[in-house]
């Protein structure tokens, strides 16, 4: 059930829950509206011989779709997540070890990639893996009337002519990664990146309050 939003320039209701699982070193379930993803992190830990890298940690990502077996699209998605995570992990601190990130889709109701990236970052934070900076991803869509919709739902994504996901870092507030589908102009791209940049600040605030709350003593 979607809660109606007052305008397009609004992030949906965000929630996160740490420590649902007992086995992993760090885990989080992130909700963005009705989109929800559970991510678990194991590591830095033992690495399989054939995947060992001598001067840095091997970053592995596994993406589990909700139903059906993972196919090409899922492997591609896995790779996208791994590339993003590798850029902000300090893998060189843990040579010959593995950091494995497992992402389980719970529900996809739009802006799925950004939810996955955000949950990866929070799970890595929960597992205390060293990172260069925190990252926050925000998705926006450009609809047929050339309006920007922030954090679109599945229906909005389907009706739009372009969907852009930006990953920001919190050190210089610069763009770390961009994933786009569809066509758009330079002006629209700039507009989207600025809008998402503004929105990413809210996501970083959310990270901070979540971790503060988790490390606090009282409820």
């Amino acid at each position: 059930m979607e809660i109606p939003r007052s305008s397009g320039f609004q992030l949906r209701h965000m929630m996160c829950e740490f420590g649902q699982l007992s086995r992993p070193d760090g885990d989080v379930t992130v909700f963005q509206g009705d989109t929800s993803v559970t991510t678990a992190v194991y590591g830095p830990g033992e690495v399989r011989m054939n995947k060992e890298i001598l001067n840095k940690a091997t970053v592995e990502t596994v993406f589990k779709p909700k139903s059906g077996l993972p196919g090409c699209a899922e492997k591609m998605f896995e790779r996208t997540l791994r590339n993003t995570c590798e850029t902000f992990l300090l893998a060189a601190l843990h040579p010959r070890s593995s950091i494995s990130i497992i992402v389980q889709e719970i529900q996809d109701s739009g802006s799925f990639l950004s939810c996955c990236v955000n949950s990866c970052c929070l799970a890595l934070l929960d597992a205390s893996v060293a990172m260069k900076f925190l990252v926050a991803a925000v998705t926006c869509a450009i609809d047929s009337e050339e309006c920007i919709i922030l954090d679109p739902t599945v229906k909005q994504e389907k009706d739009s002519c372009a969907v852009l996901t930006f990953v920001f870092e919190n050190k210089d507030d610069s763009i770390l990664a961009v994933y786009t589908t569809g066509s758009y102009t330079v002006q629209q791209f700039q507009q989207c990146s600025q809008t998402c940049g503004e929105a990413s600040k809210a996501v970083f605030d959310f990270y901070r309050t979540s971790i503060e709350k988790k490390l606090s003593k009282a409820t």
């Binding site: 059930m1 939003r5 007052s6 305008s7 320039f9 609004q10 992030l11 949906r12 209701h13 965000m14 929630m15 996160c16 829950e17 740490f18 420590g19 649902q20 699982l21 007992s22 086995r23 992993p24 885990d27 379930t29 909700f31 009705d34 929800s36 678990a40 194991y42 596994v62 589990k64 909700k66 139903s67 059906g68 077996l69 993972p70 494995s100 497992i102 389980q104 719970i106 529900q107 922030l150 102009t185 330079v186 002006q187 791209f189 700039q190 507009q191 600025q194 809008t195 503004e198 929105a199 809210a202 605030d205 959310f206 309050t209 979540s210 709350k213 988790k214 606090s216 009282a218 409820t219």
Partner: protein, 380 residues
């Protein structure tokens, strides 16, 4: 979709699609059960490959759900021998803390009871599947709910444990799984391990199972009722609602409005700076493009014998002058594009050179202007 919380965590998802039935049973639907031991549950589980444990759990659940005939397969038939529903149950194990089987069986049967398939109408040989918005989806007809209960035995059956944990499973001698419904009917019974069981032990276990199954079935019905009521009232339901917000491990953020006034300004500013950097002296050709004029100039120079090329070009090109060729120097020609000129004149004009034939002696050289659709693309 359903999830069962405990120390073991399992996530079950039921989906359905139309497919051809098995030739041996043309009027029965297909029930497919897939247990995924995700590496999330335990790092030693590998994704993609079924481990021995995975196969065991999968087979046991299949037997428990399919052979007890708890789901009416004939109601899943649309056209006998041609089209039936295939109901697929994916069970993801998220956290391994022993006794996956019990947890998975509860999740599977709850998800199957909760699942609703889209309505269909048959028009001759045409099958119309109605989307959920059009017609209310139909639940599967579940006759009874078989639930597995596991017992582990120690010291040749002297000690008995219900619902063993991960560590308890590692040291047990053997294990017995009883699949039972609340009508006290045994649907599956499996004994594994190297041990002998007395008749009394089996009877005692089945008596314990009766109590456990009754409790669990009540819990499932309660959960399903809650969901139904929430949906009927239009309240929040589903996984999002199952998170308890009063603990320190959870956090939420109300919908966040983004201030757009600042954005508009910064967009304009950044676009301006890009435009400026593109039309700076010396880098003008980067943004504007256009074909290479190098060869052309050599040929023209030979022909003109050092005359000014500029004059001749202005005849052939009616557009405003932007290219200044300094042909006095024999070595290198410099193209200077003035910044203000570039901004005032349309960007579409691109000089294109065309040679009649590259193998011919250099006597034919033309300069053409070509109009391209106004289009600029590129990232800053």
């Amino acid at each position: 979709m359903d999830r069962w919380v405990g120390f073991v965590e399992v996530f079950a998802q039921v989906s359905c699609e139309l497919c051809a039935p098995k030739p041996t049973r043309p009027s029965d639907g297909v029930l497919f059960i897939n247990v995924e031991l995700s590496p999330m549950a335990c790092p030693s589980f590998e994704s993609g490959r079924m481990s021995e444990l995975g196969v065991e759990i999968n087979r046991l659940l299949e037997r428990c759900l399919k052979e007890s005939r708890c789901v009416d397969m004939e109601s899943l038939c649309i056209i006998s021998g041609e089209k039936v529903w295939q109901v697929r149950t994916d069970i993801h194990v998220l956290n391994h803390d022993g006794n996956i089987i019990d947890c998975a069986s509860i999740a599977a049967i709850t998800a199957l009871t909760h699942f609703r398939r889209p309505d269909v109408t048959v028009d001759g040989s045409n099958v119309i599947v109605h989307p959920v918005e059009e017609k209310d989806p139909i639940p599967l007809s579940v006759h009874h709910m078989p639930i597995c209960v596991s017992f582990s035995f120690y010291e040749q059956g002297k000690f008995l444990l219900v619902d063993p944990s991960d560590k308890e499973e590692k040291v047990m001698d053997g294990k017995m799984v009883i699949g039972m419904n609340k009508h006290r009917e045994i649907c599956t019974l499996q004994v594994t391990g190297q041990m002998l069981l007395l008749k009394d032990q089996v009877l005692r276990c089945s008596n314990i199972a009766v109590v456990k199954v009754a409790e669990t079935t009540d819990l499932i019905h309660k959960a399903l009722d809650n969901d139904r009521q929430a949906r009927a009232k239009g309240e929040k339901f589903g996984y999002t609602d199952s998170v308890a917000m009063d603990t320190i491990t959870t956090n939420e953020m109300e919908p966040e409005e983004v201030d757009m006034d600042e954005v508009e300004e910064t967009v304009a500013a950044s676009l301006q700076s890009i435009r400026e950097s593109m039309t700076d002296k010396g880098v003008g050709c980067i943004g504007e493009g256009g074909a290479s004029t190098w060869e052309l100039e050599e040929k023209e120079l030979k022909e003109e014998q050092g005359h000014k090329v500029v004059g001749q070009r202005s005849k052939t090109t009616p557009q405003p002058e932007v290219v200044v060729l300094d042909s006095d120097s024999e070595e290198e020609d410099v193209v200077i594009m003035e910044g203000d000129q570039l901004l005032t004149q349309p960007r579409s004009q691109v000089y294109n050179t065309k040679k009649a034939s590259s193998t011919e002696s250099a006597n034919l050289a033309q300069v053409q202007t070509k109009t391209k659709p106004k289009k600029r693309k590129g990232k800053p």
